[in-house]
Structure formats: structure tokens, C-alpha cells
Symmetry: D2
Subunit: 263 residues, 4 copies
Amino acid sequence: MEEKDLIKPGDYVLIVSKKDDEYLVRIEEKGNFSTHKGFIDYNLIVGKPFGSIVRTHLATEYFLFKPTVYDFLRHIKRKTQVLYAKDLGYIILRLGIRSGIKMIECGSGSGSATSAFAFALYPDGKLFSYEAREEFMELAKKNLDRLGLTEVVSFKNKDIEDGFDENAVDAIFLDVKFPEKYIGHCYKSLKNSGNLCVFVPTANQVSDTLKALENHRFFKTDVLEIFLRKYKTVAERLRPDDTMIAHTGYLIFTRKYVGEENE
Amino acid sequence: MEEKDLIKPGDYVLIVSKKDDEYLVRIEEKGNFSTHKGFIDYNLIVGKPFGSIVRTHLATEYFLFKPTVYDFLRHIKRKTQVLYAKDLGYIILRLGIRSGIKMIECGSGSGSATSAFAFALYPDGKLFSYEAREEFMELAKKNLDRLGLTEVVSFKNKDIEDGFDENAVDAIFLDVKFPEKYIGHCYKSLKNSGNLCVFVPTANQVSDTLKALENHRFFKTDVLEIFLRKYKTVAERLRPDDTMIAHTGYLIFTRKYVGEENE
Amino acid sequence: MEEKDLIKPGDYVLIVSKKDDEYLVRIEEKGNFSTHKGFIDYNLIVGKPFGSIVRTHLATEYFLFKPTVYDFLRHIKRKTQVLYAKDLGYIILRLGIRSGIKMIECGSGSGSATSAFAFALYPDGKLFSYEAREEFMELAKKNLDRLGLTEVVSFKNKDIEDGFDENAVDAIFLDVKFPEKYIGHCYKSLKNSGNLCVFVPTANQVSDTLKALENHRFFKTDVLEIFLRKYKTVAERLRPDDTMIAHTGYLIFTRKYVGEENE
Amino acid sequence: MEEKDLIKPGDYVLIVSKKDDEYLVRIEEKGNFSTHKGFIDYNLIVGKPFGSIVRTHLATEYFLFKPTVYDFLRHIKRKTQVLYAKDLGYIILRLGIRSGIKMIECGSGSGSATSAFAFALYPDGKLFSYEAREEFMELAKKNLDRLGLTEVVSFKNKDIEDGFDENAVDAIFLDVKFPEKYIGHCYKSLKNSGNLCVFVPTANQVSDTLKALENHRFFKTDVLEIFLRKYKTVAERLRPDDTMIAHTGYLIFTRKYVGEENE
């Protein structure tokens, strides 16, 4: 086993009991961590391989998993509504977000989309993340910092009434209250054939966005929603969970085109 | 406008009419491309910016979009059932697939998952893609080649009865008929805390996989399915499409843990 | 076996092959019926018990099932969009449609809702079915006639600009293009505490209807949609169908109340 | 206004506040009813028209709606899992349940399906409702009694190991733990071309039931599930509720046929 698989101070660990009591914890050099079922001394964790089991002082077992971006997304500290992996994964493929591309998002919110995009852009892509409210920007920064992906993102604490600073970006993700006001700005900042995604919670906003898109050179517009339905994991009694998330938001995708004259 | 935005021979272009007649085409130096509404000479395309409009010899307009990974996935040449972006995007986030990680998939099939994973692993990750049938492996290679991501993937034309050649991989994606037979192999090849995803079309396979997982050290198992519902994009008459894809497959996610003794 | 179970001329029979080639047929005294796999002489059908199997002149087996209201709904002759059993069944329970109540619907359309409501109202309920276009009304009548439930329904070939002729009805079902224009008429014709259901295909119509409801004494408004997902019926490979109906319409339910003064 | 619209002692009333605090109450001659926002004297209710508003002694307004079968179903007293209107409405249409037909259900459970079927059978149909546990049967009776539909139902406090007492029924609804054990009994008690519906919560039970159906003369088997998704009722911000019921059960429908010899 290579050393990098052993947990060291500063690492984030997903600590989970058999009953699914779960924490995303930054391991410290000293001290301990308090679960619902007793304390775990950080000493017991440091040096253990990821995937190990430790016991609290009350002898309850906890797993020590290495978090993936999915875990960071689930445990994001939030002051706003956040985006879910079901939506973000699709957005990443649909916008073609990967190392090497340049993109804009607005607003940063609590940083859930920021984190997922930074993950996909790593190592050589770039995200310009706009957020008018400083409080949210600081939170988004903190959430991104946990993933260790801060260098991929430039935060901009400003509103976008006058547009974005960047040009010829590959993609833009818009998660704002009145997206219809910024479609022109998006058009201007996208490179030719660039991709736009707008995320809105209400059907009325979908209609307003569609109307605004008609006034600019966008084509191949899609509106869609994504559902995720979980099952109880009992082999002999397989059945869906009783309840599910029924709505997060509508996704609108579209593409910039240029005229025949390419004005 | 930078030169790289101009279409050149060898580029793939998504050619789309206003009526959504759509082609994913590799642009050649000479000759022409035949649409349902007439020919387009490659000469007319080369040198144009992505996002432009050209006309066929019958004067029908076509858009020249730069394809994203999503377009390549939609236009994959297939001999097997393929995976969809709604599932693949979620899998990428859930397994934490990004530049720098090492993973296995089996089987390659037509290369849809292969392409999406290669996209996410770019530039410094690695995918070992197993496929027993040479015919499929060649197809998966061809589909991957269109994306220009072949160096991220090592294809292995062998069955996995005796397990995988690699060890300590970060993640495994299993899309085979009898996944329950290979859970032990997956356990062996995953690094501690590594992530496994199994994709199966039937509920019976889900039960069989859950049973097999009970015999190995896997925890935090989730079973789920993802739906995507599209809307008609008319602002004044917003409504879902009449029909939708109702099922692609069930996704099973789980994580390897090690004993307290770490045998 | 009682005689009434034997098929006689005038009966409707659901004729189905093993490959699900299906017909809803009125049995005649003489002649024959043409399937995709050969002819069946009515003589072979008359006198057989429902549930029997007959063979065409090409020896293909067909089942002779007694149709339920569900089968009539599926085989309705249509010139308009029709309602589906998934929606109609819920509407019947929600509006409390049963023998003894009095209700209004508008418009009759092809008579799918008419047929389901008549079925539920039988024997002592009453449906007043408004339809402005004579062509549709005649079709709705024909479809209802096949069910043998004409006496439960009074058709009215008139538009509802000036309201309904009836008062103090228990329930109203509104399936028109601009429901917001008729909410006042509905209020007037409903008895106190009466139930209204509005069916609309678009989200914009839902918003328009909700706005109109605010101007009248309606309460406990619900908006909802119902999905039905079928499975392939193979015990060893249980899985949903590949595609499904994704949308028929939105259902809006609400209830009339009266002021404290009961003006 | 006719007298029957005025609330009298013995009537059930759906009492609802503007904040959707809701009760299904039997009105008594004397005394009062306690809400979360104060008392309402029955004197204030008796003689009022349904649909009226009353105030508690704390001046909170409550609506007095006349409950429909849907309200009784929602407010059923339960000791078992109950069926929902979305499923029951569809079952009624699919099985063709209406005045004049004869059907069996097993088991009665808390009486939710019993109530919906009795509602649909009224006035001249008949339901034989089997329930092995007396405790549940008594509860089902009580719930049915509130609807005033007891004469439509014959309860049978016995298990069905040896089959049903009735023959030639039009339809059977089976909601038991091991439906595969009773398919033969269902076949025997159904009339030719009769309809069977099996309700089960797990996918494994669906497979087991499908296997059992293969051993008897049933055809046109469908397996399906029904979803209901609610919306927030704000005209300017139309959007689905955040969560929804994701699963109640799978519905299996099938039809009895007889051999060519009609053995």
C-alpha cells in the first residue's frame, strides 16, 4: 500500500456509521471528533488507510471513507439552495466542461455548482464565478477550498448588470433570479458555438428565459428536468424509497450561433 | 477571433438544420456532405467559424456547431445498448472521475461510457477498458478516436473470469450481464475506500448484485435510477414532451472498506 | 355458466392475439371480422363464452375478452386529444363521481371523459356534457353509445360563454382552451362545497387558471400531474418499458366555498 | 338552497383552516370540536350550508367542506399500509368496478381499497372482502361505515388458504404478502374473461406473481406503477413540490381466459 492512501492531518474523511450517521470531517493533528455515538480521537484516525473502521469511546464502529466530489457536494455548507449531483453531472457533460476550457458561472451561491465545475475543469480549465453578495462568495470559496481546487476558479464579487469581463468563453452557467435580463450578456461573452445553461426553479422563469432567447442568436434549445429515485437496498425485497426529491429546477440548454455574415 | 475557432479539415462538426435534421461529421479536405436537404461542399465549411450557418445546394440552412462530449455520446456508432448522458454525468461525479485517477470499466461495449470517462479523466487520468468481444472493442476505439482521447484509455481484449490486471484503482464501472460473478474481482482491484458502480437493466440483476455485495466488504450501497424529461420549448405553451425514455438501467453504487485488522 | 356470459350479436368484444394485435369489435349476426392474421367468422364468436379462444381462417389464435370501461377508453374513436385512465380514475375519486350525483363537463371532445364519468355515475347520476362543435358532440355520443350508457348523459351542443344551464351541481370538469374565462360560470353552477377539476396541457394555462381562481371563492386548490410507467412482464428480467407517456396534462382541483354571510 | 345541503348532526365535515390544518369530523348534537387554533361549538356548525366558514373561539377561520370519497381515503384510520387515490382510481377503471358487478378483495387491511371499491359499486354492486385478522376487519368496517356504504360490502373474517366462497365474480383485487399462493384460487373464482389486480410493494413479489400467472390461464398481463406529483399553487412561481411520494406499490393486471374446449 502506498503512503498516500494513509490518512494524514488536513485530509477530509467521510466518517459513516453502520446506521448511516455520517460526517465529512477535516482531520486535525490533535483532539477528537464527536459523533452521535461517542468520541473518536484523531490519533486513532491518522495513519489508518482510507476504508478502515474505527470505534468511538462507546465502541460504535465508524467507516473512514475517502470523500469524492459527490460527498463534498452532499455536505456543502449552504446559505442558498444548492444544486444536486443528478443535475450537475448532466450539465458537465452537456456543456463539455473539462480541463482546458474556460467558462463563467453566475451566481456562485453556496458554491455547489462551483465545486462540481472546478472538479471537472481540473487541472487546466478556468471558471470565472460571479457573485454579487460577498457573504455567499466567501461561503463558496470556503466550500471550494475543502476540495483543494481553488486555483481553478476566479471569484468576482460583482453584479452582472453590465455584463461579464470575459469574452469567448466556452460555456456559461446561469443560476440567477431573472435570467432573461442577462441573455444578451451571455451571448456577448460566449465564443461562437458556445454553450449556455440556465437553471431556474419555476415554470414561469422557463417561459421568460425562452422569450429572451428568441431575441438573440441561440439555437438547439432544450428544456428538461432530471429525477433521481432511490431504492431500498434489500435483495429480497427490492423496492423504491417511499419518498423522493420531486423537484430541484428546470435546466435550459442552448447554443450561440453567428449570422451568415458573422457580424 | 482566434484561429482555433475556425473549422479545419479533420475537425468534427455538428451540422443541424432548423428542423433539427442533425449530423456529426468529420470535415474532409475535398468533397461534400449529403444532407436530407441537399449537398454541402466541404469548401464552404472549412475556414468558417464554428457557430456559422451554411446553405446546401438547395439553399437549406444548416448550423455548424462545435460538438461537445454530449454530442459525441448522442451520435455514437452502436452495436450494443449505450449509456446516456443523464446516467454518465452522475456516475462521473459519484465515482469522482477526474484527471489524476485510475479506473477500470468492463465491458467497453460500443464505447459510450468509455468516451464519457475518458473525457472526465483527461488529461492525466487512466481508464483500463476490458472487452471480451474484439468486434465491440474495435468499435469502442473508433468512437473514442473521434473525441481525440485515445491516450487516456488502455483497451484490453480479454474476459474477466480471472480478474483484472490492475490493483489499487480508484473506481470500477461494471456493465456486464452477470455482475454478481465479478464482485470479488472488483474488491481485489479497488484501492481501499474505492468506488464501484454497477449498471444493470433488470430488477432481478439488482437483487443478484446486492446479494453478491453482502459477501464482500462493501458499504454505503445505493441503488437508484435517473429520469430525464424534456419540454417543448415554446414560451407561451410550456409543456413536457408527449413521450420520454422511461428506463435505461439501474445504477448500484458502493464502496470498499477494509477490516479493522486491514487483512 | 349463466347465459349472459355467452357472446351474442350486438356485444362488444375485445379480440386480442398472443402478439397483442387488438381490436374492439361489435359482433354482428352475419359476416366476418378481418384481423392482421386472417378472417374470423362472427358465427364462430356468437355463443362462445367471453374469455374463449377462436382461430382465424389462417389458424391464428385470438382471445375473446369482455371489454371493461378501460378498454373502451383505449379504443375510443378520437378527433381530439383524449384523457387517459390514469387521470380519469383519479378525477372520479377526487370529484366523488358516483351514482346519485349531478355534474357538468365541458367540452365533450371525443367523449373519453364523458365515457368514464358516465361509467362512474351509473345508474342514478347525471352528466351534462357541453360541446360547442357539433362534430365532436356526435363523436362523443357514438363513443358513449358503445358503452351503453347514453341515458346517464345529456349532451348540449352550445358554447358556454353565457354559463351553464344547471345550478347546484356537485362537480364540474373543465377541459377547454381558456379555462380562466369560465371560472366564474363554474362558481355559479356549483353547489356550495362543490368540486371543480380543470385539465390543461400547458404550464401557462395552469398559471392563468390559478390567477382566475383567486378572484372567486375557491379553496384547497391542488395542481398535480400523474404518470404511469409500465414494465415488461418477464419474471426473470423484470424491467420498465423503454419509453412511456411523459405528459397528458396538468390537473387542477379546487372547491367552492361561501362567505360567512353566505351571499 | 335545498335542505340536504345544510349540515346536520351525524354528517361528516372536512374542517380546514387557511393554513391547511385539516380534520374529518362527525358532527354531534352537542359539544364542541378542538382544533389547533381553538374550539368550535357544534352548534355553530349545525344548520350551516356546506362550504361555509366558521370561527373558533380564538377567531381563526375554518372552512366546512363536504367530504368526498377522496377525503375519506386521506383520513382513513390505519393500522396497515393503505392504498392511495392515484392507484385506486386507476384500479376502478381498469377492473371496471361499477354498480351491478360482483367482486372480491383480499385482504381488507384498514379498508382503504374497500372504501373506494364500495364507492364505485354503489348502489347495486357487491364486494366480498376477506381479512384473516379480525382486528383489521373491524377497522375496515369502521372506516367503511363513515362513508355510509356498509351494505355494499360483505366482510369475511377468514383466511383464503382454501380459496374464496364465491364463483363467477367479475373482478378480484389481491393485496396480500404472497399473492403467488392464491393465483389458482383467483382463477377458480373469476368468471370467464374476469379481471384480476394484484398489488405488491416489492419487485421480487412482482416476479413471483408473474411466475405464478404462467401456470394458469391468464392473459394480457400488465405491470405498472403510478406516480403523482404535486405543484405549489402560486400562479407567478409555478413549480413542483420539493418532495413527493416515490412509491406505493406495483400494480399487476391480468385477465382469465378459458381453453378452446372451455374445460
